[in-house]
Each structure stands twice: as structure tokens, then as C-alpha cells.
Symmetry: C2
Subunit: 407 residues, 2 copies
């Protein structure tokens, strides 16, 4: 049994028109008008397929085939970053939908029901993982209260706008005993599969992330009258840290280690005043908890050492701390067997981005299947995966689902 | 003849209450309410002293003692940076006022009239040097049209608010033949006099400034999925430039060379996206035109080299280009003689900040007298000069003015 390639590609094309940008990407931040349209569109597709549709208190959308015991769950998310690609999230949801349709069309009797899910706000318009956190019982009143978009609109307001009560997300956690397995098909978003000429990636671990806010404080001085040797230039500390943190990761990290300074702000921010303060975000990623802890400790040392060298003071606040999540080895084996049966070349690799699977994986066996991303590009209109790779990935997903739902 | 020390100190204290900040500094950006109050206060002091007060089309305030031929001009500015000190600018204006008062009180007959001036917007709320540019005939319609504060309010609007027509500034240039000399007493704003234990600085040259906007452009990439080696991280180029420009000045510059990166902005500015663009201001200063040109050429090379090394593109736009201004050697000698007569220790030094004297100096003989700044601090509530140093500086100014106005 194979998926219906043309139907899946048509679904991807149709969903890709919702939130289309002039640059050829899509913008569907969670609870935006485009996201709402995508939600309505998906629910219509679920009902058209004869599946049982449902929306939970977090706004997660489900489509189920057959009732009964623990389910084999499959899905991803519909929301996107601003001007993102058409496959990130959408592929996992629509390939899952296609798998359920095929099973129903073929009249296959399963021992475990199949259930499709599209999680709310994976990308973080309101902070990220709202839907999967609620599903996994990891949401709190405080976290809901803190969830705001960049315009300051609360998720409570955004959900209220469409008649949902955000507090309801707290009571709709799913019993872990009800989940036999979770599968998520996703674009790799990196260059590894393409470079290794592998069609299917089997994810072993989802990366851990530690994100810090680092502040260097020096002294505002006149850019003319203050000799370089007399300055306490906060930006020099920041520049030195950026360069040396890069070298630190290259020398002490692994191929799965990352450091990124993505945001930076200088005060007072005037061309002729020596910067008194420089704030930057420093983000570390690794698939190994031990390595991540080591890089974190070395980075903290580096901040303090650099501050001392430049006559500055420094402070570090933790913004985000997500542990690496190892995925189910049983499910990895099921994917391997499925790919082998279909003659697809595979490789094991880590997921270097965050995914709903890391949240679901904390309460139930979870697995991810990756397909190649051209040039490793994502979160951009340049995101691209060939139709053949999409087809192969979806068929491996279908085969693996059937293995786990016990035909 | 000596200045009236207590009267000068009281004037400084009184003016220092106008625009007072909670931190103990003063905020009198040009054409702010506090600046307007300071202007009214000064005009009242000029009139109370029996001097002839006048405001020109640029808002420059004058006070004159005796009519007739070419004048010996003395002054500085009333406006301040936000939360600046009470002496920067104010000292030159009020010491000048005190000198004119003493000459009048003593009934001294001068061959050349003395004229006090307080120039408009030296500090740059609307770009800087508006008053001295107008005075020296260096203002243009375009420059007026471009003059806006950080809130976007035009200087035309700001001046119109108090009944002045900014276009009038173009017709009030002063005939250079009418200026025999310009003297400006100012705090050093640097640490040199204090370190050398000299009471009075005689300025030889006012620093040249070249200010550039430098943009590095790379590629926005996912902070997790993109290995460090595959990135085109614009911020890495910026960090490398900041570090290496510093080293460049230390190795190839002179003690009067400066480099400052005071402003920086990163796009898209998100913690988990590799920066696609980094913009920064790079400011070079030197008292030697040749050295400044050399450092400018080497800095441009550095920008291009760094961009190439990190796989980026770069562009450089010139924001400001002010040549070094050598001050009158005759007037330096007059100040030297005055200080010698009063038994003040002196040293020659450059002015590393911009001053109205550099603009007036382009059309007439100009001179600057510096007094020590504690720890070299300025543009800050920490700005401080001892009362004895203020007194000595004002007396040297008075003596030098008398030498030039031909008693």
C-alpha cells in the first residue's frame, strides 16, 4: 500500500496558498487570520475524509480513525514563522492525514486506532509549543499568563477572539497511557541528508537548548576625549565574547554543537559615546546533556573572563533551558524496517531544531522522520524538498504507522 | 585685574539648576523647554550687566561691550547632551560674561570691542554646530532641511515654535573681517591635564572626525540546523571588525587616535536566527589629517577583509567628515603669556572633542583654553572641575582677552 502522491502534493499546494507572502513564502503565526483559515481548511479535509474531527482546549486539532484503546498518533503543526516555507509543520500534518485516508480507503483493520494531530503554536508566535505542552500536561496558569505575541497580545485574548477559553488548555492534558506512539514527519531544515545523499533521516535525539541573556556593563565615555586604554567599553566585551564563543564551540564542541548570538543591543547607542552597556542573547545547542552542560559552564567562564579582561562587569540570566530528548529506539527500528522494505536510503541524525515530538516524547514513545532540505534552508521562502523525497518520506511514515498500529 | 570668582561660581550654579536631572546632571538639548529657559536667563544676565544683547537668525545669543571695528569674541554654548554636566559649554559662556562685566566695571578702554556669544545646538540635538555653522556662513538650505531631532522634529519646527524663522539663519553669517579673534574656555573632557598636573591647557588643534556607517550582510539561517561552518553570520563580521579596529588603532595610531563603535543593530534580531545583517557606526578621530586618512584607508581595508573572511558582503557610507583644525599660534602665544603672568602651569594639547571653535576657526583666528576634568569624565553628571581650576582658567581667559583687545 502506498500513499496517494498527487493528493498529498495537492493538499500541500492548497494549504500553501493560505497566508501566502509576496516573497513566495507563507505567514501563518498562531491565531493569525491565516492560521484560523488553515485550521478551518484542515477540519474540512478531516471531515471530507470521513475521520472524526475534534478540537481540544488548547486549540489542537485531531482527526481519528476508529475508536478504542491506546492510539498511534501522527502529526505536526500548521502554524509558521513569518514568511516561512510551505512544508515546515504542514508536511507532517498532511502526510499524517494522507496515511489515515489510505488506511480507511483500504479498509484495513488496526489493533490500535490512528489519530492525526495539528498542535497549536509550535513556532512560537506566543512562546512556542503551547499545544503540545497542554497535550503533555506541561502547561501552567503562569505560562498561559506569560504567553504574548510581539505586539503584546495575550494568547488568552487571541483564543477568546475565536470563542476558546485558554484556561481550558489546562484540563485537556492527554493520559500518557492512551498514547502508544507519536510519529512526526518533518523537513530536516539542515544540510546533512542532502550531503549524505540519504532520502530518509531517522532522528535519534532532539537537541537541547540553553539560551542566556548576557549583559556587559562598562562606562559611558566621550569617544574623543577618552583614550582607548582608559575606556570600559561594554561592546568590546561583547565582540570578544562573540568571537571566542565561536572558537570555543569549534574546538570543544561536536558536529552537533551550536552557538548563536542572534540579538544584540548597545546603550546608550550613540556614535560618539563609548558603549556603557551591551546586551546579547547567547544560545547553545547540543544533543548530549553532558556536552551541553560542559559548553554552558565554559561559556559562563568565558563571559566572566572577557569582562575582567576589558574592565567590565557582567551578568547572565537563563532565558530557556530545554534538555535533549532521546527518541524511542523501538520506533527508530520500526522506521528503519519500513524504509528498508521500501528500499529507501536512510541515516540516523539528530534534530537540531525544536519540535512537538520533544514535548510528546517526554510522556510517550516518540519518533521523527526527516526528509532532505535543499541547501539546508528553512524558515524562509527558499525552503524546498523534492516531490520524490516528500513521497518517499510519506510512504515510510505510512509503513511505520502500520507496523505500530498492528495490522 | 581678576574675575569675580564668587559671581562666576554663582552664575554656574544658577544655570546648573535649569534642566536639572534626578541623577544630578542637566538636560538642555537645543530648543527644549530647559534650553529656552537657559536662553531667557542668559539674556537677562547680559542685560543686567549693561551689555548690548542680541539674538541672530540662528538663535545665537550675543552680548557686546562697546561698538566699533573687529571684535574679540568669547563664548561657547548653553545646550547640553541629555543628563550631561553643568560646565560643558556653560563655563565658556559664563566665564566670557564675567570677563565682559569686569572690563565694564573697571571702565577699561579697549581698542577692539569684546563680544560674548552662546552658539545654538553645539551638542547636536538637531545635528550639531547649527549656530556656529550659520555664524561662519557654512549653513545651507539642505542642511537646515535635514536637521531633525531623534523624535523626528525638524529644527524649523522647533525654532518656529518660539517665533524664529530657521531660514533667517542663512542670512546672518558674520563677516570674517569683523572677527579679530575667538576665545573659548572649556573643560578638557579628558584626563591629560589632571595626569600632568597642569592647571591650564592651551589647545593646538581640534580633532578631525570621520564617521562611517558599516553594514555587513550575510544570510538568515536557523540557529539549530545550520552548522557554524555553513553560516554567513553578519554579526561575526561586526564582532571581528570591532576587535581588530581597536588593535589597528593601538598599533598604527598615535596617542591622539581614537576609534569608537557606539551604535550597533542586528537583523532580524531574534535569538534563534543567525544574523543576516549587522549595522554599526565606526568613528575615527585624529589631530593629523594625514594620520586620519591613513587610519580611514586601513579601516576600509579591514571591513572588506573581514567580510571576505566570513563570507559576507559589506558596504560603507560616510556619515561625517570633519578635518582637523589647527588653532591660531598667535592666540596660543597670547594665552601662554597670560598664564605665565598669572603663574599658572600650562601644557599644550589637542582637543579631542568637537567645539564651536573649530567652526569659527575656519573663518577667523580661534583659540581654546582647557581646564582639568576630574578622571576625564564629561557628558555625565560625574563631570567635575575644581573651583580653583575654574577660577584660574577664567582669569587666564580675561588676561588673554585684554591682550587681544588691545588695552
Amino acid at each position: 500500500m502506498q500513499i496517494n502522491r498527487q493528493r498529498l502534493l495537492q493538499d500541500l499546494a492548497d494549504l500553501g496558498t493560505i497566508g501566502r507572502t509576496p516573497e513566495g513564502g507563507v505567514s501563518r503565526p498562531s491565531w493569525s487570520e491565516a492560521d484560523l483559515e488553515a485550521r478551518r481548511w484542515l477540519m474540512a479535509r478531516i471531515q471530507a475524509a470521513g475521520l472524526t474531527g475534534r478540537v481540544d482546549g488548547a486549540g489542537n486539532i485531531f482527526g481519528r480513525w476508529e475508536a478504542g484503546g491506546p492510539v498511534v498518533l501522527v502529526g505536526s503543526h500548521l502554524d509558521t514563522v513569518p514568511n516561512g516555507g510551505t512544508l515546515d509543520g504542514a508536511l507532517g500534518v498532511l502526510a499524517g492525514l494522507e496515511c489515515l485516508r489510505r488506511v480507511k480507503e483500504e479498509g484495513i483493520r488496526l489493533r490500535h486506532p490512528l489519530e492525526l494531530v495539528a498542535f497549536t503554536d509550535e513556532e512560537g508566535a506566543f512562546g512556542g509549543f503551547f499545544g503540545s505542552y497542554a497535550f503533555a500536561g506541561k502547561l501552567t496558569h503562569d505560562a498561559i499568563a506569560r504567553s504574548r505575541d510581539v505586539q503584546g497580545r495575550s494568547i488568552t485574548e487571541a483564543m477568546g477572539h475565536v470563542g476558546l477559553d485558554s484556561a481550558q488548555a489546562l484540563s485537556d492534558r492527554r493520559d500518557p497511557a492512551d498514547i502508544r506512539a507519536y510519529f512526526e514527519l518533518h523537513i530536516e531544515q539542515g544540510p546533512i541528508l542532502e550531503r549524505q545523499r540519504a532520502s530518509v533521516g531517522i532522528v535519534e535525539t532532539i537537541v537541547g537548548i540553553q539560551r542566556f541573556g548576557v549583559t556587559f556593563r562598562g562606562r559611558a565615555d566621550h569617544a574623543g576625549t577618552t583614550p582607548l586604554q582608559d575606556r570600559k567599553d561594554a561592546l568590546m566585551g561583547a565582540a570578544e565574547l562573540i568571537r571566542r564563543a565561536h572558537d570555543l564551540i569549534l574546538t570543544e564542541g561536536t558536529p552537533a554543537s551550536r552557538v548563536t548570538v542572534g540579538f544584540m543591543h548597545v546603550k546608550p547607542g550613540v556614535p560618539n559615546i563609548v558603549p556603557a552597556e551591551a546586551y546579547l542573547t547567547l544560545e547553545l545547542r547540543d544533543v548530549s546533556s553532558a556536552k551541553l552542560e560542559q559548553l554552558q559552564a565554559r561559556s559562563r567562564d568565558l563571559v566572566h573572563r572577557v569582562a575582567t579582561e576589558w574592565g567590565l562587569t557582567s551578568s547572565i540570566e537563563t532565558i530557556l533551558n530545554i534538555n535533549p530528548v532521546p527518541l524511542s529506539t523501538d520506533l527508530q527500528q520500526a522506521i528503519q524496517s519500513a524504509a528498508d522494505e521500501l528500499g529507501c536510503s536512510t541515516m540516523r541524525l539528530p534534530a537540531m531544531a525544536g519540535h512537538d515530538a520533544q514535548v510528546v516524547g517526554s510522556i510517550a514513545p516518540a519518533a521523527m522522520i526527516f526528509v532532505p532540505s535543499r541547501d539546508g534552508r528553512s524558515h524562509s521562502p527558499a525552503e524546498f524538498t523534492s516531490e520524490d523525497d516528500i513521497d518517499r518520506g510519506a510512504n515510510v511514515l505510512l509503513n511505520a504507522l502500520l507496523r505500530c498500529s498492528g495490522t
